[in-house]
């Protein structure tokens, strides 16, 4: 058996063991024949079988707001927040990275805003932008922007002066230097921030959905709804779906990142 197969086998084994233990432990009654009294109460953490049933039900067309619609809403807002955050963060990082004085002037504001716990902004964002898609995107943006901004800023500042000189000797004008030396150097740093950015975008969106109510939709709404109805199974469905979405998006971005940074030695060792 190859090493890879062995690792996969162990992973599957652990998953099965965990699910079985969960299913089994939550089925043991504290006092026999007394209904509703368990050693480990499925009321709080549900059971795999119940979660699977709810999953099928919520994903079916029988519900008004299906799981698919909610997942789509979450993914959509996350991607919007990601795209807007990355592009504005990149532009700002590049601008400030190349303008020493502007960066010095703005530094305290940037640090102050970045130190602010983003979750504290949720009520304000809700007041201004309401409960819909826009509010979620704005929240994701406030997080992603800074991750990308700081990375790009570093990259734009740390451009190797010798590369700039050699470009100049090869006949480059200022705009050509920007396009062929500074932007690629900074982009290398920006790309490295993409994977954390998509994860943080998802966090921002879910936080927005937790407060956003039905008009925002999304899996975060399913969580608050489940809390309202004390339905642990539905909550688990939402959590599992969010986990899956998070993994798929992170892997997708990682793939893009590897492709864009294929010139870097550390990305050559792994085969994409």
């Amino acid at each position: 058996m190859t090493e890879r197969a062995r690792v996969t086998l162990w992973r599957v084994a652990i998953l099965i063991a965990l699910l079985s233990a969960w299913e089994w432990l939550t089925g043991i009654k504290a006092i026999s024949r007394t209904p509703g009294l368990y050693w480990i109460d499925p009321f709080f953490i549900s059971r795999p079988s119940a979660i699977a049933r709810r999953f099928v039900y919520l994903a079916s067309g029988e519900v008004r707001l299906s799981l698919w619609a909610m997942a789509l809403s979450t993914v959509q807002s996350t991607l919007w927040g990601f795209v807007v955050g990355v592009s504005t963060g990149f532009a700002a990082g590049l601008l400030l990275g190349r303008h020493e004085r502007l960066a010095r002037v703005l530094e305290p504001y940037i640090v102050a805003f970045n130190s602010l716990p983003r979750i504290a902004l949720v009520p304000l964002i809700t007041m201004v932008f309401g409960f819909g898609l826009l509010a979620k995107v704005v929240l994701a943006w406030t997080i992603v922007f800074f991750i990308v901004f700081f990375n790009t800023f570093q990259g734009a500042r740390g451009v190797d002066a010798d590369l700039v000189h050699s470009a100049r000797f090869l006949g480059a004008g200022e705009r050509q230097i920007m396009r062929t030396v500074i932007v690629p150097s900074a982009l290398a740093w920006t790309f490295a921030a993409l994977t954390p950015s998509i994860s943080f975008a998802l966090i921002g969106v879910v936080v927005g959905e937790l407060l956003g109510g039905e008009s925002g939709g999304g899996l975060g709404y399913l969580i608050t709804q489940s809390l309202g109805t004390l339905n642990a199974a539905d909550m688990m469905v939402a959590l599992v779906s969010l986990g899956a979405i998070g993994i798929v998006m992170a892997l997708g971005i990682k793939h893009v990142e590897r492709r864009l940074l294929r010139w870097r030695p550390e990305y050559r060792t792994e085969r994409a």
């Binding site: 190797d160 010798d162 590369l163 000189h165 050699s166 470009a167 100049r168 000797f169 090869l170 006949g171 480059a172 004008g173 050509q176 062929t180 030396v181 690629p184 290398a188 294929r262 010139w263 870097r264 030695p265 050559r268």
Partner: protein, 240 residues
């Protein structure tokens, strides 16, 4: 540096040697317009060098300045791109340069996958492909092993024989200077002054391997060593 005056003729290969820290690279940077001399001037064809890099000057740095995110071919194409050379013409000249430098088959390779010698070859071709009249080289082979160095010496000489650019080559390696140059400017210790200008009387074209075994080479080396040795002895004498 003070009173460092020397002349480089058109089509001449001049090497600058001297103890480290004496300002060899500074001279090159002044010629290239990267550094403005505090007094005095650098004249090219009688006109003073502006603070900007002149377009007909090529510069090969000691440090690896190949753009890591561009393939070999796209690195070599840089200067042509900057000058707005049309794509078909660009491709043709890059192909020529790649063949000339023995880089065929590596056009689409990223620099990270190449050896130091090959990367420096890319840097050299990238500079030569735009056909500079003056070529400034700052210890371009300093970081390479002896074998690679000799190979690149041979190639540089071959390329130079064909074009005869004016070359100013900074190095601390006497053998390198003798192998390549027509004349060698020897600088003194800090503050760097011109100690001597030594004429290398070896015939061209030169065979970089056979050359080293010749008596003429040994003679040149001896003379240069003497000039430099004087410099070292003087310095030590002053100290003690």
């Amino acid at each position: 540096m003070e009173r460092a005056a020397f002349e480089v003729l058109e089509g001449e290969f001049v090497a600058i040697v001297g103890p480290s820290g004496c300002g060899k690279s500074t001279i090159l940077n002044m010629i290239g317009g990267l550094v403005v001399p505090s007094s005095g001037a650098v004249l090219i064809d009688g006109a003073p060098v502006e603070a900007r890099a002149p377009r007909h000057v090529g510069y090969v740095f000691q440090k690896d300045t190949v753009f890591p995110w561009r393939t070999v071919a796209r690195n070599i194409a840089l200067g042509l791109e900057y000058r707005g050379v049309a794509a078909p013409e660009r491709a043709r000249r890059v192909r020529e340069a790649v063949a000339l430098a023995g880089l065929a088959g590596f056009e689409d390779a990223f620099p990270a996958t190449l050896s130091g010698g090959m990367r420096q070859r890319v840097a050299l071709m990238r500079t030569l492909v735009v056909d500079p009249e003056i070529l400034l080289m700052d210890e371009p082979f300093g970081a390479l092993d002896t074998h690679t160095k000799l190979t690149l010496h041979a190639e540089l000489l071959r390329l130079w024989e064909a074009r005869r650019q004016t070359v100013v080559f900074v190095t601390h390696d006497l053998s390198e200077a003798i192998t390549l140059a027509d004349r060698i400017v020897v600088l003194t210790r800090r503050p760097g002054r011109v100690k001597a200008v030594h004429e290398v009387k070896l015939t061209r074209p030169r065979d970089v391997i056979a050359l080293r075994e010749s008596d003429e080479y040994a003679g040149e080396y001896g003379q240069l060593w003497h000039i430099l040795g004087e410099e070292l002895a003087e310095h030590d004498g002053r100290r003690t």
